[in-house]
Amino acid sequence: MDQPAQRRRRYAAVAATDRAFLVAVYAAVGLFVLLVALLFASLVHGSWPSLREFGFRFLWTSQWNPVTNQFGALPLIFGTLVSSFIAILLAGVVGVLAAAFLAEFAPRWLARPLSFIIELLAAVPSVVFGLWGLFVLAPAVRTSIGPFLQKTLGFLPIFGGPIYGVGLLTAGLVLALMILPTVTAISREVISAIARDQREAAMALGATKWETVAGVVLPAARVGIFGAIVLALGRALGETIATTMVIGNRPEIAASLFAPSYTLASVIANEFTEANGKIYVSALVELGLLLFLVSFVVNGFARILLYTALRRG
């Protein structure tokens, strides 16, 4: 047996280890919160000269001219919103229906591998999407998809004008593929969380499987599905490399979806290392700040929707 003094020493050592361990745990979580705060603070600090110089004018003037040091982000905001909107329109519809199939209609032996394949699509690096978009999709838009749309819907201004291949439509299509797994995986989770008795009640009333899903299950899951789509929108707004490779990189606002455009993220990617002058650099950081704030709000909103949807289910 230990002597009392020895035992006390050992207890003290154990207590000290525990204290050190808890300190490490709290330090880690404190550091994490601090890093997120620092991320925001450093972006504000970096964009301060530009914030002071341009104020809110930065958001709604459309000159992006490094030569004259005039920076207005409107064309970039336009390009970001339009390309993301195309993506969300396509991926939203396809993704939610695909989720309905995986959660409701597909037999297990099909649903599992199919979900896995769609999740692998999410793992494809964005530079690979960009490469494929640039060398496969952009030529296809120029030679077949574009001319087809122009022939059938060319009376609409959004399908007018010359077709370059790279441009808003191509960027929107690539983004749609990139966010499709997000919409599908999260919608599927939300749909699966809808209580079983809702389905059984509808089926007992004589509804077909389709009527049950379209009339009962999807409406019941609408908050969560909306959350999934908003979350995917956040991804699309901030996507950088793939968009940079296929959008054409021209800071102009054009009516046609075939026209080259530019996004907030791609401007930073293309110009940051070559930017000289305090105002130019800080204008680019301000674009980053803008992206940060927008995705913070969009993602925060999506998460709150999803917390509600999944807790209730």
Partner: protein, 276 residues
């Protein structure tokens, strides 16, 4: 009556069509990368340095090495912070604070990587006036943190409470209970999360543009600019040269291969249940 069943059938087929679109897209992209990548892939490509435009041959071995170094360093930064924070959320957090951390982590996972790259530039590049691999690792660590944090939280949470309480009741210290009993029990799910976070940053390109910056040489010192595989693919792809385009495809094949192996290994081998 028949019309309703026909409509139900058509509706089901429509959803099946949409689900297959995702799979078809993956196969199209992956198939094309395989086809183009294999043409340019050879031993020299994975063992040699890049050569100037016009010269035949050359490779991107320094980019592969650079990516491995950068991601390894990022893992070393992110793993302890992420795991300990995950333990906090699962075991020690009380009151409103854990909810805030969880929310911050979920939101951080949606912040564009380019904004995080700017952060790394402001904190680690601008003060030293010097691009460096360590700044890229820092940006990568920020991208990995939310994944590691939430997966380790869930992994630890899934260990039955009785195991932890039993160990504490037997007189084990808090530290020993957590690190020798609870964490080992949750090990495979924690490693799954770690591998998924590694897969996520391995393909990242945007933050590298102004952190690691790229290099023509063998470089293992993380305080210097370093070549990175995704960055080289990007630079080759947007160049006007045919030979570089071919190399971009070969690089893409390596990258997509590495990311897929990580994903398949993490989801199917380590925790088949996690992939549902």
């Amino acid at each position: 009556m028949r019309g309703r069943h026909v409509r139900s059938f058509i509706g089901t087929m429509l959803t099946a069509f949409c689900a297959s679109l995702g799979a078809v897209a993956l196969l199209l992209i992956f198939g094309y990368v395989l086809l183009q990548g294999f043409r340019a892939l050879n031993l020299a490509f994975v063992t040699q340095l890049p050569v100037p435009v016009g010269e035949p041959g050359g490779g991107i071995a320094n980019g592969i090495l650079g990516s491995v170094v950068t991601v390894a360093l990022a893992t070393a930064i992110a793993m302890p912070i992420g795991l300990l924070s995950g333990l906090f959320l699962a075991l020690f957090g009380r009151g409103w604070f854990p909810g805030v951390v969880r929310f911050l982590s979920d939101v951080l996972s949606g912040i564009p990587s380019i904004a995080i790259g700017l952060f790394a530039y402001i904190v680690f590049v601008a003060p030293f006036r010097h691009f460096s691999a360590v700044s890229a690792s820092f940006a990568f660590a920020m991208l990995m943190l939310p994944v590691i944090l939430r997966t380790s939280e869930e992994a630890v949470r899934s260990v039955p409470r009785e195991i932890r309480e039993g160990a504490l009741a037997l007189g084990m210290s808090e530290y020993a209970t957590t690190m020798r009993i609870v964490v080992p029990a949750a090990r495979s799910a924690i490693i799954t999360g770690l591998l998924l976070s590694i897969a996520r940053v391995t393909g990242e390109t945007a933050p590298l543009l102004f952190t690691a910056f790229g290099s023509q040489f063998w470089e293992v010192n993380p305080t210097n600019p370093m070549a990175e595989l995704p960055l080289q693919i990007f630079n080759y792809a947007i160049s006007p040269y045919q030979s570089w385009h071919e190399q971009a495809w070969a690089g893409a094949l390596l990258l997509i291969g590495a990311v897929f192996v990580l994903n398949v290994f993490a989801r199917l081998v380590l925790s088949p249940r996690a992939s549902r």
